[in-house]
Symmetry: C2
Subunit: 244 residues, 2 copies
């Protein structure tokens, strides 16, 4: 049996899609969903994604680790942002985090209540996400977080990479899926070089985070797949399958 795979290129296009009955993979490659995988891999108990900096600040005052990013930079007054290097090598076992980012957490909020399962995917956990999607055994929608509701190239490329990793069990059911698969076939041999031509990379370059970009463009360094359970992201285990 073959499942369906759709790709939504921006949260602004989401009203055209049905989420009920599906696994939704939210992707914000640079850098939210890459970093969320790192945080859970480092042992954090959960990440609560929130849409405003104020919500993050309030939970921070209650003793949570609080992370906030706006426009590519750490928000004022926060020790943690959305760089994977804020967390790599840190022992986060048992920690609870609250996190808000420009695009990623907004996309999560858009999918949260409508989909059967919501996972976070990125190049760093590509194969682990593909395994989780296959294990869940439902039609899948990849939701690209984009950049302030605009199309971006790195999230679309991830959608193409996931489509390839899910084939032939999942087959493309929309033109956007066809397009991102084509893009992935062009870019896969030199992902970092391809991304360097993108508008987002130029923006990130000005922020001096080339190291972050290289990390986020490297495949399968992480195993943790964030899955949304009761408004918090926890590390997916195959047994999560039956909890919703």
């Amino acid at each position: 049996m073959s499942f369906g795979l759709e790709v939504c290129l921006s949260p602004a296009l989401l009203p055209s899609y049905t989420l009920a009955g599906k696994t939704v993979v939210v992707t914000d490659v640079l850098r939210a969903t890459s970093t969320m995988s790192v945080i859970l891999q480092q042992g954090a108990e959960c990440i609560v994604p929130v849409t405003t900096v104020e919500e993050a600040r309030n939970l921070g005052k209650k003793g949570w680790l609080a992370a906030a990013e706006r426009n590519g930079q750490k928000a004022e007054g926060f020790h943690y942002g959305n760089s994977p290097f804020d967390y790599l090598g840190h022992n986060l076992i048992g920690c609870k985090l609250v996190m808000t980012t420009t695009n990623g957490t907004r996309a999560l909020a858009a999918a949260a209540n409508a989909a059967d399962h919501v996972l976070c995917g990125a190049f760093v956990n590509l194969h682990a996400v593909a395994d989780a999607v296959k294990s869940l055994g439902k039609d899948c929608l990849v939701l690209c977080a984009g950049w302030k509701d605009n199309f971006n190239i790195e999230d679309s490329l991830f959608a193409g990479a996931l489509a390839k990793a899910l084939a032939p069990d999942f087959s493309l059911r929309c033109d956007a899926g066809l397009a991102v698969s084509g893009l992935w076939s062009i870019a896969q041999d030199d992902l970092f070089g391809y991304i360097k031509a993108s508008s987002h990379f130029n923006r990130l370059e000005r922020l001096h985070i080339e190291e972050d970009v290289r990390f986020c463009m490297t495949l399968n360094s992480q195993q943790a797949v964030p899955v949304l359970e009761n408004d918090a992201l926890i590390a997916w285990k195959s047994s999560n399958d039956s909890t919703r």
Copy 2:
């Protein structure tokens, strides 16, 4: 001097773009903007694009040729739809048409009041459109009509073809431009074969209009470039440049 080129993949994404000061090329390859080029090439004086079937019907009662398409088919009670074969070989010299289509005329309405110039582009008039855009000498935004606010492959491929035709005078200023250029590089050698894999083609195939698709995927059969002037599309002449 190099001008900027942006690509908007769906009318739903248009709020993120600035239209003022730019030439906007609206594309609805299957079939509205292809057919609009044919209609003006056949000598029609003008096409008034309207968003509702009722508006088209009302002008039809006043003696205009009235064309209406919804969901890929001629609307009930209309002799003309959006198939190029409704018009090819007909003498339309001096005729005034009113036209409404599912996606193309909505995209035109979205761009009408905000852009400096609004042109209609398709594969059938690709080179003529590129010449007009160069002659106008302003930054350019390609607006893909899509399918009911969703991304579609054929409009995106046209945007990629136009980007190539405008290079190096116009340089890409957004990730969507990079993406459609990549798609065009994949598809250009077998455009019809590539389109056959798309969701829209399957929809069109059920309507038995493969002949229309083949016509719309053939490059440069037409010279007429529809340009919006006072709510009507007329054939662009280089002298139109100074009329707005």
